[in-house]
Structure formats: structure tokens, C-alpha cells
Symmetry: C2
Subunit: 303 residues, 2 copies
């Protein structure tokens, strides 16, 4: 079976909403490719292209794709097989009112640095430094439960999670809130630090190979995104403050540990304080995002 | 030269202060061993030993040790060569009013789980699970600049940093605020998650081999602790909120990047958003602690 390619040129969204019109309907278990455009819609092609403000229409997410048989209460499984950059440069920027150090007097807002892809796609250049290309999907999610949420904001449906683990080799799980799930993704980076401090990574277009399937009989209710990187399971939570987000991520994790090991929540909580731990995804979006990681040897298959 | 052993039995402190009386004076470059007691002063020996509250005298730090020639404005370099557990069990606890999920109705406060050391010291047992022993120094620091700060609180002098990187193979750097620097440490864990969510790791006594030396001619001013794990340099910052702490850690990092690469702060900030990133040390102490990590290939020797 030929792999269908869904391109941003076919359709893309700037919002995740309860009602979304699918571009394509995939079978349960189908392998497809999402072609994405960089988060700034090609507006930045040189260091002279400055972002005086973050535009309203940012983070175009290619899709949505409906998945046959996905109904509310199910879990959508997205195996991320490959993420390939599809242009010869990325860009890292600051913009006024955006980023962790947006009030720092010595840091220019706006500023742009184009990062050329070099070494046959292996590296990118930042000034005189070469950095390995390790593509990350910044925005990935499904139709929401009730609210309409811009692709700049992360929430329980996913969205702008800006999580470095959303990369090749990871399997991501999302709660299904609407018929067909309605998967969309974009806002990729050629490289990104945990935290995404200046507000972006090296923003770039990518081609993303995934296989989508539906889990209808999970042993746990999934309220928020979850990933399996192959080394670790990680709960992912977004909230107004990091303090609130780390509580949510830890609560989600100890529920999974309790089910797998037959533990009380007390034991699961105590155990969670010994291995793996809290990680920061991003501190710059309208809600911030964190993870709680647990090595696979302690959580085999929580769903 | 025989390695001197400084034991908690010889002396320990519950506060880091501007004026501290040394137990021992080490030469610049001397290798010594700190013998530490677990953070709960041996009060918890079985699951029935519950902590109804965190005692005032907690986190005994063995020392302080003066280092010859250390004067304010210098940097104290502490090479952590080995951290060995010195008892046959650790303990992980909850206590009322303490820990990330202290208000969770289904989690018992207080609760204790003793974790026996097994496999010739290689593992610890939590219920039916074996976890690798990877000892961490929870509290490590020097005499403060002005305030007296309990060993339960982290700050610019170090103290209760609860940072998993404070382990064998790491070199830690502290600003020297007082003559002799006055190094003290304790509060070790046989294992600990990033975040230390329940409020402790597996608390345990340890013997810690370090070599201490003084850097008088550093190219940068060090305001807060810094570590070199061999893989990455990490700035460490403690503050009332995670939001404030991540700003401080990122600002500290971009200053180091700017010096090494001859970058403006704008370039250093943009670059910091591409590699390494923000990490959580602990979210449960009176001030919370985070790190900003940068792989060694991008920061060779910032001091």
C-alpha cells in the first residue's frame, strides 16, 4: 500500500477545536506522511527578516487527519517513525513580548539568525558552531474536548507542546475527544533545547512519517498526552505555571505506576521520587509544559 | 599523603552562615573524605518510624572544612571522585506539609519505606523493585555572603540543592564568600529522581571523596554553583518559583557562552535555545532549584 502524503498545501489549521473537518481519513493502522511548513510560514529567510511580533497565524498544523474507528474515550497511538527536514535552513528568533528573557535589556528583540543545514543534513550552522540536526515536532495534537485552542497553546489535546521527545522513534498517545480523533501537526524544529528559552528552536519544515492506530481497551483513562521514547515513558502536562504543571505530570505518572505494580498511590508517589523525574519541555508558550519521566524497566506498558 | 577523613561525628552544621568555625583546614589541592549521616539523623530505621513533621535539625552537613588560600571573590573547585553508601539501607518518606503532592487526599502523610541495599551495594529494594544505587549529595555548599541559611534551603552558596548531578565524576564550583570558603556536605541519597517529588530520595549516609582547590584568576564572576559532569556544564539556580529560577539559570548560562564564543548576549541566548536546556533539580525545598545544561562541546572551560 502506497503511503499517503498529507501536505500543508492541502490544508492546515491554526486552531484545534471540537469540530474539525478532516483532510483525509486514515485506516486504523495506516502509515502516512505529514508534510509541514515552518512555524513562521516562510516569512523569515535571512537574518534581516525580523519578527516585530508573533503573528496570530503561527504554527500551521498540517491536517487534520481522521482515523477510522477512533471515538471519544479511545486513545490515539501515533508511532513517529521519521522526521526529515524538507528545506535547507531553519531560523531561530526573538520577538518583542516573547521568550524567557523578553525583558532583558541587553538582548535584542526582535533578532533572527538563519541556521543553514550542512553536512548532508546532519548539522546546522549557528554562526561558527555546528549543531547536530535532531528534528522535533513542536505542535502535535487532536481535536479538543470543548474549547477552541490556537496552535500556539498546549493543552490536554496536545497542541504546542514543544517537547523534544516528539521525535523519530517515539510513540505518542493522545486522548480521543472527538470522532476520528483529528490528528494535525507542524511547527517542527531542526534542533531545540529543553525549555525553548528564546521562544523558538531552529524552526523548519519537515516530512513526518507516522503510523496511526486506535486503542479502545486501555486499562487506564488517558487525560493528557503521553510518550514512550523507547527508553522511558513520560507523562506530559501543560498549565499556567510550572508549579501546577509538575503536580499534574507527577499525578498522572503515579496513577500509571500504581496500576502496573498494584501499588497504592502512596507507594507509587514514593517510588516516583527515586527514578527518572521531572523534565521541562517549554517555558515560553501561553501555557508551560513539563514531563515526568520513568525508565521503561519500571513501566512496561501502562495502556 | 594520607587522605584525611572528616566525619559528622567530628562536627556538622545545620546552617550555612557568614561566620563558620572550621573542623579542619585543607591545603589547596588536598584530597579528603567527608563521612556523612543520613538527613534524618538515623531516626528512621523501619517502615514504622514515621516523620510527623520535618524536624528543625535536618540535613546535617559534615564540616565545615576551610581551604587554604580561598578568599572572597575566588571560586572553590570540588572534584567529587566517589560517593559510597556507608549503611545497609536508605529510607524514602513523606511528612505532613512537605512534598509536591502534600495536599493529595489519597497519599499518606506521614509514610516511610525503608529501602534495603542489595546486590553488594549495586541496588536498593523498593517493595519488589530493584533500583540501581546512584548516590547523590543532597546538601553541599560554602559559607554564605551575609545571611544565615538552614541546611534545608538552597541558595547562591549551594546548600540543599538536591541536584542529581552532585555525584561521582562531577566537578562542582562554588563562589567563595568568606575566607577559607568553608565547605560542608551531607543529606545524601542512594537514588533520587529529578524533582525529588515526595520530598526525599532514598536518604542514606555516605563517604564522599573530594579534592578541593582554589581558582583565583577565573575569567568570569561566579554568582551561584556550577557543575561540570564530564558531559555537560550546568548552571544551577534556586528561587521562590520555578519561573524565577529558570530565568536565573539561563542568564548565568548565556553569560558563560558569550565569554567563550565572543558572542553578544543575544547570540548566546538564541544559541542556548538550540542545545542542552533547562532541567529540574528539586521542587520541594523552601526555594526550588533548576539547572541550565549545555553539552561540553559547546562550552569547554568557562572559568
Amino acid at each position: 500500500m502506497t503511503r499517503s502524503v498529507i501536505s500543508y498545501k492541502d490544508g492546515h489549521v491554526y486552531e484545534f477545536a471540537p469540530e474539525m473537518e478532516p483532510l483525509y481519513t486514515a485506516e486504523d493502522g495506516e502509515s502516512i506522511t505529514f508534510e509541514t511548513i515552518d512555524s513562521l510560514n516562510k516569512a523569515v529567510q535571512s537574518d534581516a527578516d525580523l519578527m516585530d511580533a508573533i503573528p496570530e497565524e503561527v504554527n500551521a498544523a498540517t491536517g487534520p487527519v481522521a482515523v477510522e474507528g477512533a471515538t471519544p474515550g479511545d486513545i490515539l497511538k501515533v508511532e513517529i517513525e521519521d522526521v526529515r527536514v524538507n528545506e535547507d535552513k531553519g531560523r531561530v528568533i526573538t520577538a518583542p513580548g516573547f521568550g524567557l528573557l523578553q525583558d532583558h535589556e541587553e538582548i535584542e528583540h526582535p533578532a533572527t539568525r538563519v541556521t543553514e543545514i550542512t553536512n548532508d543534513g546532519e548539522s546546522l550552522s549557528f554562526n561558527d558552531i555546528e549543531v547536530p540536526v535532531e528534528p522535533v515536532i513542536g505542535t502535535i495534537g487532536v481535536a479538543t474536548s470543548e474549547e477552541t485552542i490556537t496552535t500556539l497553546t498546549p493543552h490536554d489535546h496536545g497542541g504546542n507542546l514543544d517537547t523534544t521527545d516528539m521525535s523519530a522513534g517515539t510513540t505518542a498517545y493522545f486522548p480521543v475527544f472527538q470522532e476520528g480523533a483529528m490528528l494535525a501537526m507542524g511547527d517542527s524544529k531542526a534542533a531545540m533545547a529543553d525549555g525553548e528559552m528564546c521562544g523558538t528552536g531552529s524552526e523548519i519544515g519537515t516530512d513526518i512519517d507516522v503510523t496511526v492506530s486506535v486503542i479502545s481497551d486501555a486499562t487506564v483513562d488517558l487525560e493528557r498526552p503521553l510518550v514512550d521514547t523507547g527508553d522511558a515513558w513520560k507523562t506530559i502536562a501543560s498549565a499556567e505555571t510550572l508549579e501546577e504543571a509538575v503536580k499534574m505530570a507527577n499525578e498522572d505518572l503515579i496513577k500509571l505506576l500504581a496500576v502496573e505494580h498494584g501499588y497504592t498511590l502512596t507507594d507509587a508517589y514514593l517510588f516516583s521520587s527515586l527514578v527518572g523525574g521531572l523534565e521541562i519541555s517549554q517555558v515560553v508558550d501561553p501555557l508551560v509544559t513539563v514531563r515526568n519521566s520513568i525508565p521503561n524497566e519500571y513501566l512496561s506498558d501502562p495502556l
